[in-house]
């Protein structure tokens, strides 16, 4: 497996709180993508971060990538109930392979 965590993680927080989700991967990569899947829908890309960026922001989202520790994180500030979803990190099976492999994901529940 490309990813360190094999089982779905679960987080439950109150609306307005900040949250950080983490992924660790095994094979060298230069790009990590984060996707969100809401109930009844397919995954949708939230943010893509490259190794030369180390940190990337998009609205309330912040992604980091540390190639030395082979890990990535996604933070959401001021969560809303509508942020409730499963969040996946994903990367290429091998550099430039265009075979996107997903981590097991984090089920985030934001309670109003």
């Amino acid at each position: 497996s490309q990813w360190g965590e094999e089982n779905l993680q679960a987080l439950s927080i109150q609306e307005g709180e900040d949250v950080t989700m983490n992924c660790s991967y095994k094979t060298y990569t230069t790009v990590v993508q984060w996707y969100r899947q809401k109930s009844g829908k397919g995954p949708a890309q939230l943010i893509l971060i490259r190794s030369n960026e180390r940190e990337k922001r998009s609205g309330r989202l912040r992604a980091t990538l540390d190639t030395s520790s082979q890990s990535s994180s996604l933070s959401i500030t001021g969560t809303l109930a509508t942020d409730t979803a499963v969040y996946f990190c994903a990367t290429d099976a091998s550099s430039g392979s265009w075979q996107l492999i997903f981590g097991s994901g984090t089920q985030l529940t934001v309670m109003p």
Binding site: W3, G40, F88, W98, L100, F102, G103
Partner: protein, 114 residues
């Protein structure tokens, strides 16, 4: 239009019977993917087409077939469904030509094998 469409939304199949799932996209993407997703697990890549070239994952090579008659359509075929095939099947597309790693997903087809 950035939509990937999948049909049907729900599919009921009997053990031992064939199953054919359909996906279409109108973004002129060169690459189309099929993923299998089971509850509490990550989406698992089954196969993908780059233009007309099919790439199947080694561990699912014999279980799934696919066709891509034109750029817009891609099917996933199971010759003889088993209980273990019950899952959500997600189709996605992307464009290598513009070096866009982003995948666009359909809403999925939920397959239940009885």
């Amino acid at each position: 239009d950035t939509t990937v469409k999948q049909n049907p939304r729900y599919k009921l199949a009997r053990v031992g019977k064939p199953v054919n799932l359909i996906c279409s996209q109108t973004m002129n993407h060169d690459t189309m993917y099929w993923y299998q997703k089971k509850p509490n697990q990550a989406p698992k890549l089954l196969l993908f087409y780059y233009d007309k070239i099919l790439n199947r994952e080694a561990d699912t090579f014999e279980k799934f077939q696919s066709s891509r008659p034109n750029n817009s359509f891609c099917s996933l075929y199971i010759g003889s469904a088993g209980l273990e095939y019950s899952a959500m099947y997600l189709c996605a597309s992307s464009s290598r030509r513009i070096s866009n790693e982003r995948l666009f997903f359909g809403h999925g087809t939920k397959l239940s094998v009885l």
